[in-house]
């Protein structure tokens, strides 16, 4: 009799894969020791210890069950969904954590004393914890989980092996943990949405390459001749994020024992590269990846084929080409050369075409299924996400116009715009997709409670709208106050005047965020209870939980 039951994760690995995992654990642990020893006088030493612990834990978990029986060949008859399951659970943990931290920092702008004293809990250090937890923790885990699910269905091929998806998922989460534990210790390179320092950045590159290889290896074994639209988006997401991440994070560390590094580029070039990265992190992480999600789960849930195959092509290549020019609209009226600003504005306007083609394609797919949208909160999440996507991309193009940007830049309007996209589009499409996929992968008839999905839906809508309206108000008021002149030609308002005027909107924003957070907690509870449901539906139907006609069809109707 064993002291511990065999871990189900290790039981699925072949002997070779267990050896591989132990080797990876060993390499990770050695890297951890190196960083820990070299950086014993620096915060990087703590991260070294954490990396070491991750490596040792891997070796221990695998070693404990190393001699457990290998998985049988029967596994090849079904898709490999366990990493997807783990990814969904992790995504829900991250979203609750990330939203809670976000709401906390929102209240700090209402009352700056809501810290625990000392540096770690102040606004500047906690804000990137929020952005990283929701974008990379929640969004990233959601993307990895759903992309592995979609890839297998649309290719009708199992993942190439059992080890690499776990490496990607857990390695990615190690990156996220390094990020959110680093900022409170003051480890940051200050690049927005790329705050992590050099060692975490290098680790992410390794993880990302393996992620890409999973994609290529699975596609190489696909039984469908065509690669489905969702996979174009997932591939663009993986490829372009790699490109952006590597270029933007080029830096020289002070030493191997220092977390601190200095970026390769400076001043105006650095600003342009940062916003080329920043805006395209929005494009290829927060848009392309989630469009991949939408192109699969929305038609499947609605039971309708994608409205137009050609619109998918136009919007995919439009987004891939045009977005990469748009970053410079973050730098209007700055020291960036005027011609680059003009290009950024022009391409941002053109971007509206593929963006609305995507949103329209999604909404037109629902034609004939509107009764389902009315009755099914899961599908309604996806529908509202498409609407928010359309609205936010319109707002984005609008704000990229130089004259509008003169008012909106540096204000809360930008914050509102980002949250319209993040709460309305990214979070809603993810929640919708997760609610669709949870019963399928856990082989349950439905979610634990449809009523709780409804409650989550309405809390999300209410929270997002309160948030966005509050920020529109505060942003536009701020922008107007800063540029108001008295008749004698002097500025009417001091900066502090504008700050005082923000107070009620900062309260409203924090309340909107709280509603969204409560919704997220309800979602996490509902998903947990669904997993705990006792009666799995029979194995016969379990492998094909989604409507077969659509799930198996790689091509939309045309």
């Amino acid at each position: 009799m064993q002291p511990f039951p065999t871990s189900p994760m290790v039981a699925q690995l072949t002997r070779n894969e267990r050896q591989g995992a132990i080797l990876i654990g060993l390499v990770v642990a050695i890297c951890g020791i190196l960083l820990g020893v070299a950086g014993r006088d620096d915060p990087i030493g703590i991260h070294g210890a954490l990396i070491f612990a991750a490596g040792i834990l891997t070796i221990f978990l695998i070693g404990k069950d190393y001699y457990a029986p290998e998985p049988s060949d029967e596994r090849f008859a079904s898709y490999y969904d366990d990493p997807t399951k783990a990814g969904i659970v992790l995504a829900m943990i991250w979203v609750v954590f990330g939203l809670a931290v976000g709401d906390w920092v929102a209240w700090q702008l209402v009352n700056p004393n809501l810290t625990f004293g000392g540096g770690w809990s102040s606004f500047g250090r906690i804000r990137p914890v929020h952005t990283t937890a929701v974008i990379f923790g929640f969004g990233g885990n959601g993307l990895i989980a759903t992309s592995l699910y979609v890839l297998q269905r649309t290719s009708r091929a199992r993942l190439p092996d059992q080890l690499s998806p776990w490496f990607v998922l857990l390695g990615y989460n190690l990156f996220c943990v390094l990020a959110v534990t680093g900022y409170p210790m003051g480890i940051t390179q200050s690049k927005e949405y790329a705050e992590t320092e050099w060692y975490a950045d290098i680790w992410l590159v390794v993880v990302w390459v393996v992620y890409f290889l999973i994609y290529l290896r699975t596609l190489a074994r696909r039984k469908e001749p065509h690669i489905y639209v969702a996979n174009w988006y997932f591939m663009a997401f993986i490829l372009v994020v790699a490109m952006l991440h590597i270029v933007n994070n080029l830096a020289v560390p002070v030493s191997i024992g220092h977390a601190k590094s200095y970026t390769l580029f400076s001043g105006v070039q650095d600003a342009m590269i940062q916003w080329w990265y920043g805006h395209n992190a929005v494009a290829f992480f927060l848009t392309a990846g989630f469009l991949g999600m939408m192109y699969y789960f929305l038609p499947v849930r609605a039971g309708r084929p994608i409205f137009s195959y050609r619109m998918s092509i136009i919007s995919f290549w439009g987004i891939t080409f045009l977005y990469m020019w748009a970053g410079s609209h973050h730098l209007h009226f700055t020291a960036l050369p005027h011609w680059v600003q003009t290009l950024g504005m022009t391409f941002s306007l053109m971007l509206l075409v593929p963006s609305w083609a995507s949103a329209g394609n999604a909404l037109l797919t629902l034609n004939g299924a509107w009764a389902k949208v009315r009755d099914d909160a899961t599908l309604r999440f996806m529908m509202v996400a498409a609407v928010f996507y359309g609205l936010t991309t319109f707002e984005g193009s609008f704000m990229a116009i130089r004259a509008v940007n003169a008012l909106s830049h540096y204000t809360d309007w930008t914050v509102g715009h980002v949250h319209a996209g993040a709460l309305g589009w990214v979070a809603m499409i993810t929640f919708g997709s997760i609610y669709a996929v949870v019963p399928w992968v856990w082989k349950r008839k439905s979610m634990y409670s449809a009523g709780l999905v409804e409650a989550h839906f309405w809390l999300s809508i209410a929270g997002a709208l309160v948030y966005v309206f509050a920020m529109w108000n505060s942003g536009i008021i701020q922008g107007l106050m800063w540029r108001t002149y008295s008749e004698d030609g002097t500025l009417t308002y001091s900066f502090v005047d504008s700050l005082i005027a923000m107070h009620p909107y900062y309260v409203a924003r924090a309340i909107g965020g709280l509603l969204f957070l409560i919704g997220g907690c309800i979602g996490a509870y509902n998903i947990w209870m669904t997993i705990k449901l006792p009666n799995p539906i029979s194995e016969a139907t379990a492998d094909q939980p989604e409507p077969k006609a659509i799930g198996a069809s790689p091509q939309p109707a045309e």
């Binding site: 700056p112 001749p225 070039q269 410079s328 009226f333 700050l499």
Partner: protein, 247 residues
Amino acid sequence: MSIFGFHYRMERKAIGLVIAIIVVASIGGLVEIAPLFTIHQTVESAPGMRLYTPLELAGRNIYIREGCYACHSQMIRTLRDEVDRYGPYSLAVESKYDHPMLWGSKRTGPDLARIGEKYSDQWHVAHLVNPRDVVPPSVMPAYDWLLSTELRADDLGLHLKAQRAVGVPYTDEMIANASLDAFGQSNPDSAQAKGVIERYGKATTVRAFDGRPSQLTEMDAMVAYLQILGRLTDAAHKPIADAGAKQ
């Protein structure tokens, strides 16, 4: 039609898609970014521009560590109200040595590009210790512990070396004396103070920034950095024609 026909064939090849995505996604960045390194007018010339001293660089790193850039920009735009409020608009050359740049994207607090020497050291110390003591409606966090935290100065030479590796022209002498210069700049009566002026120029501010010459704290570094903002060069205060002409 043929375009869609071509696509219909291409989407059967994973490698075809991969290459097409990389090519299509690279164009925008290449056109917009590569010329910024080659076109001379992108960054104005400013012959007298000085470097950050080790103490100011340490302060800059604290500014980064605390995430100050999340609420304060360092980029005055070419708009009348911004010039009236904050001073001459920012030039590219002013952040030439900024690895990374700290232009920022949000003004929850005011722009800081020209904050240097607008307020006294005492004001900055009081403001950082508790912002609400000097600006009652402020929502800025308090940074009182900067005053009691000793600055880590033993590795400043390594920092300067890494800066040199990315293109900031620190000399061997500056690198060798980095730690001493940090002490010297915050202690005007010390023997090292003179060396700071020699290496970084007469305009360098040598003061007990936190009010206590005997101690080198993070507050010293932070205030020294805030007081140099916008003052590495006076290029922005000269007429435009002047700044552009000296290519």
